[in-house]
Structures are given as structure tokens and as C-alpha cells.
């Protein structure tokens, strides 16, 4: 009888430790702590070029993460990329003339969307669209341009 009790206690400890490990992994290792993106509102923005941006990339304002990219579509009419992003519902004070740009964290880091709030009194609603956008800086194009300019200035 005593033996059975000890076995049961050990199994209890084991199951508790396993569940605690899962919980710790969820809390400490993964990004479960920043949920709440789902019950936010969705806004859209059109970009000329979003190369490197992925679904689930962060959306930030002043460096603070406020949401995630939920979808990246291609508009066949305007040949632009349409990026849908879900913004947390507690960040619902973004003015309608907010501008969005695709930025890179660090030199080779991941791409994210930076929002730059404007000064308008009206705020963006669910389904609203950001009109002021700035595309990804494509490194190859920049280097090409730089070399071209150098060559041009060298001629004179």
C-alpha cells in the first residue's frame, strides 16, 4: 500500500514537472506572452516592393511592437504588394495619415514594418488603408546606384 502511494506521488511529480516544462517553454521560450494580436483590428498598406517581408513579421511604432503582418497579397491591377496587418486593439489611436515603411533590423536582420504616426485627428479604423508607404531598400539597387553615381562624378 505504501509502495503504491510512493509510485502515485512520483507519477504526480513527473506529470506536474512535464506540464510545468511545457508551460515554461510557452512562457519563457516562445512568444505566447505577446498574444492579443488576434483580437486587434486590420489595416492595409500598398508597397512597391516588400521583398524580405514575411507573414507574421512584426509591425512597430517608434520601435515598439504593436502588431503583426497577417497577409501579403499581390494586386494584379496596380502591380503593388498589399500588406494586411493586424494591430493590437489597445493601439487604436493611429492617425489616418500614418506612413508605413519596410525596415530592416540591423544590417542583415529580419524585415519589419515601421509605422510613423501623422498629425491627423481622424484615426485608422478596421479595414483602413495607409496611403503613405515606403518600400524596402533593396541593397543591390542601392549599391548599383552608388557605383553609378561614383562613376558619373568621376567623369567630371
Amino acid at each position: 500500500m505504501m509502495q503504491a502511494r510512493i509510485v502515485e506521488i512520483w507519477v504526480g511529480v513527473f506529470v506536474a514537472a512535464g506540464l510545468a516544462a511545457l508551460f515554461m517553454l510557452a512562457m519563457q521560450v516562445s512568444n505566447l506572452t505577446v498574444v492579443g494580436d488576434d483580437k486587434g483590428y486590420t489595416i492595409k498598406a500598398r508597397f512597391e516592393n516588400v521583398s524580405g517581408l514575411k507573414v507574421r513579421s512584426p509591425v512597430t511604432v517608434a520601435g515598439v511592437r504593436v502588431g503583426r503582418v497577417t497577409a501579403i497579397d499581390f494586386d494584379t491591377q496596380s502591380f503593388q504588394a498589399v500588406v494586411s496587418m493586424s494591430i493590437g486593439s489597445n493601439y487604436d489611436q493611429l492617425p489616418v495619415d500614418t506612413s508605413a515603411s519596410v525596415l530592416t533590423s540591423g544590417l542583415v536582420g529580419e524585415k519589419y514594418i515601421g509605422l510613423d504616426p501623422g498629425g491627423d485627428m481622424d484615426v485608422l479604423k478596421d479595414g483602413g488603408e495607409i496611403t503613405l508607404t515606403q518600400s524596402t531598400l533593396v541593397l543591390e539597387q542601392m549599391i548599383g546606384k552608388f557605383l553609378f553615381d561614383k562613376a558619373e562624378s568621376g567623369k567630371e
Binding site: V7, V11, F14, A17, A21, L25, Q28, V29
Partner: protein, 260 residues
């Protein structure tokens, strides 16, 4: 020539026979699981034998795997000046792959072989047929509790393995090699996704738990009831379940991460 063909046919037939018996047993096991609600003590004993007694090897291997990952990855990442990414790389490696796979391999060696040997010996000493004589269904009384115990224990062991590994990597990376503690954890949290990474790892470990325990229980139940037969069955359990785990891991990874 004809004898060779006959042998080939015999091999093929016996392979499919075993496959069929295995699936029939799985069906019987699944049918035997719900009645266990009435007798939880049987399962508790098996979780003890399978899970608790495997805890030591899992914790020790998890720590060392994490520590080695920390050391190896640091030396590689530091060449790119990216040692701040040590945390997410260790965590993703463990949570997605090494946690479930290495745990399943150790589980097959530590618990699967023991299950097969136990059931095989029960069969060899005619305990199972004795039970049938007394109108006790050995599938429900002996096999189903072991199956359920293994399926419960495996994901928990994998979670413990991953967590311990992350801390092992933390110990080496942050403690010994001087990676910044803040970037270790914060990059990890921003790059490891709950649904995409952690949950897929848990799904993997559940699948591996089912497969390894199923193979172990089947091999034990299907063993030739002699000491040689039991020893062969035990070997087969380890070999087959390890191969199944590695093969399934590729399939699952392709399903989860390969196709967008």
C-alpha cells in the same frame, strides 16, 4: 531459382501478416484505452515505470545536448558576429527537432525495450494465456495500460528535455562564453513561435510516443515465446522504432515547415 522466389514470397507474405497483426493490435489497444478510466491505477503504474524512471537519462542528455549546442553554435555564430542569436537557434533546434527526436530515440532504448522484454517474457511464461484462461483480456489488462502510459509519458519527457536543453545552452552560452543574457532570452522569445514551433514540437512528440509504444507493445506481444525470441523482439523494437522515428520526423517536418 524457384526456391529463391518462394523464399521471397514467404518473406513478403510474413511482412504483410505482421503489418496486419500490428494494425489489428493497435485497433484493440485503442478500444482498450477508454475502459481504463475505471482503473487509473494501472496506467499510473505504467507512467511510473515508463516515464518517471526515464527521467534521469532524459534530464542528463537534455542538459548535455543543450550545452554542446551552446558551445558549437557559439563558435560558429561568433564568426559572423551573430552570437546574440544563440538563444533562438538553440531553442528552435531543441523545440522543433532535437527535443522530440532525441527523446523518442532514448525513449525507445530505455522504455520501449523494457516494455517489449516484459510483455515478451509474460508471453513466454504463459502469463498472458493464463489471463485468457481466467477470462481476463490481456489486451485490456496488460497491453492497453502500457500503451496509454507511454503515450502520456513521451510528450512530457520531450518537454522536459527541451526545457533542460535550453537551460544547458544558457549555462554554456551566457554563463561560460559571455553571451548577453538579455539578448539570449529576448531574441528567443521574439523568434520562437508558440503555434508554429512549440506546438508542432508537441505534436511530433505525441506522434513519436504513439509509434514507439505501439511498436514496443506489438513486438512484445508478437514475440516468439522463447528466450531467444524475446531477445530478438527487444532488438527489433529498438531498431524499428528508431527508424520509424527518424523517418516520420522527416515526413512531419516536411508537412509542418516544408510546404507553405
Amino acid at each position: 531459382m524457384l526456391g529463391w522466389l518462394q523464399q521471397l514470397g514467404h518473406r513478403g507474405l510474413s511482412f504483410f501478416e505482421r503489418l496486419g497483426r500490428g494494425h489489428l493490435l493497435l485497433l484493440a489497444l485503442l478500444r482498450g484505452v477508454p475502459p481504463l478510466v475505471l482503473r487509473p491505477l494501472l496506467v499510473v503504474q505504467q507512467v511510473y515505470a515508463i516515464g518517471v524512471l526515464s527521467l534521469l537519462i532524459i534530464v542528463v542528455s537534455g542538459t548535455f545536448v543543450g550545452m554542446v549546442l551552446g558551445l558549437q553554435l557559439y563558435n560558429t555564430l561568433v564568426d559572423f558576429g551573430a552570437e546574440a542569436s544563440l538563444g533562438p537557434v538553440i531553442a528552435l533546434t531543441l523545440v522543433r527537432e532535437l527535443g522530440p527526436v532525441v527523446t523518442a530515440l532514448l525513449f525507445a532504448g530505455r522504455a520501449g525495450s523494457a516494455l517489449t522484454a516484459e510483455i515478451g517474457l509474460m508471453k513466454a511464461t504463459e502469463q498472458l494465456s493464463g489471463m485468457e484462461m481466467m477470462a481476463v483480456d490481456p489486451v485490456r489488462r496488460v497491453l492497453a495500460p502500457r500503451f496509454l502510459g507511454g503515450v502520456i509519458a513521451m510528450p512530457l519527457l520531450a518537454a522536459i528535455f527541451s526545457l533542460v536543453g535550453v537551460y544547458g545552452g544558457y549555462f554554456v552560452g551566457v554563463g561560460l562564453l559571455g553571451v548577453d543574457e538579455g539578448s539570449y532570452w529576448s531574441q528567443m522569445q521574439s523568434l520562437v513561435d508558440f503555434d508554429d514551433d512549440l506546438m508542432n514540437g508537441v505534436i511530433k512528440s505525441v506522434v513519436f510516443g504513439v509509434v514507439v509504444t505501439w511498436i514496443a507493445v506489438f513486438e512484445g506481444n508478437d514475440a516468439v515465446p522463447t528466450s531467444e525470441g524475446v531477445s530478438r523482439a527487444t532488438t527489433r523494437t529498438v531498431v524499428h522504432s528508431s527508424l520509424a522515428v527518424l523517418g516520420l520526423d522527416f515526413v512531419l517536418t516536411a508537412l509542418m515547415f516544408g510546404v507553405d
